[in-house]
């Protein structure tokens, strides 16, 4: 069964998103929370990598964290879905394990 991967740091500040992307398998889900949401911004250096990864994984961003950092929902890279804390809980419940890339 597949894994929910959480990433909480900006990919410009830590390698955790890159390392996460290097360690996911087909069917896994990746959720960007806290400062990691800044990596989802369209046109940013990580937007393309996130878009490519959607061929094998679903990618989510925590909407309240996105709003806090002033990034509009329409400005995130295509195909990334927004969830709230309840959606975060559903994702964790729906996968076999949660792997936090701290």
């Amino acid at each position: 069964m597949s894994t929910l991967h959480t990433v909480n740091k900006s990919p410009f500040e830590r390698p955790s998103l890159k390392t996460c992307l290097d360690h996911v398998v087909q069917g896994d889900a990746i959720l960007l929370i806290e400062d990691a949401v800044v990596g989802a911004r369209k046109g940013g250096a990580f937007a393309e990598a996130l878009s490519h990864k959607q061929a094998s994984c679903s990618i989510y961003v925590l909407a309240p964290d996105l709003a806090a950092r002033g990034i509009k929902a329409e400005d995130i890279a295509e195909g990334i879905a927004l969830v709230d804390y309840g959606g975060f809980v559903d994702l964790a419940a729906g996968k076999a394990r949660v792997c936090a890339w701290l």
Binding site: E13, E34, D35, V38, G44, A68, R69, G70
Partner: protein, 138 residues
């Protein structure tokens, strides 16, 4: 407070996004207190620090205080030199219009409203660092 011979050039370098860590907020608190000391103050935004100035920040969903409006009040504290590194913006997919407009009223020019934010490239930022006496990093 400080006499003329004790005026130093202070540079605050902000390199972290807001809310994920407290550094942006606690840096701002130093800048505000420091303003009372009548030093020559500049504030730099490099790397993820540029996110501190994003317009439209809304923290209702994470239960944290939205302190972004305080940057707009810096002009009233005589903090009027904010430097944003262009390369840091570009790497993050941001343009200058994504940031708040921050201005001050110039008392020497009939209170004309002037921009506090200066967009500088990396070489100008490098020069800034080498021209300051005291550097506080957050």
């Amino acid at each position: 407070m400080a006499d003329e011979t004790n005026t130093k050039k202070f540079l605050y370098i902000n390199r972290k996004a807001p809310y994920g860590t407290v550094y942006a907020l606690e840096s701002l608190e130093v800048v505000l207190i420091g303003a009372a000391f009548e030093q020559d103050v500049s504030v730099a935004f490099v790397d993820d620090g540029v996110f501190q100035l994003m317009s439209g920040q809304d923290t209702a969903g994470i239960g944290m205080k939205n302190f972004s409006k305080t940057y707009r009040a810096l002009g009233d504290y005589e903090v009027r030199k904010l430097y944003v590194e262009r390369e840091s913006l570009a790497e993050r997919g941001l343009v200058s219009d994504d940031l708040m407009a921050i201005t001050y009223e110039d008392e020497n020019e009939d209170y004309a409203e002037k921009p506090s934010i200066h967009f500088v490239d990396r070489s100008e930022m490098t020069k800034l660092i080498s021209e300051h006496d005291v550097i506080l990093s957050f």
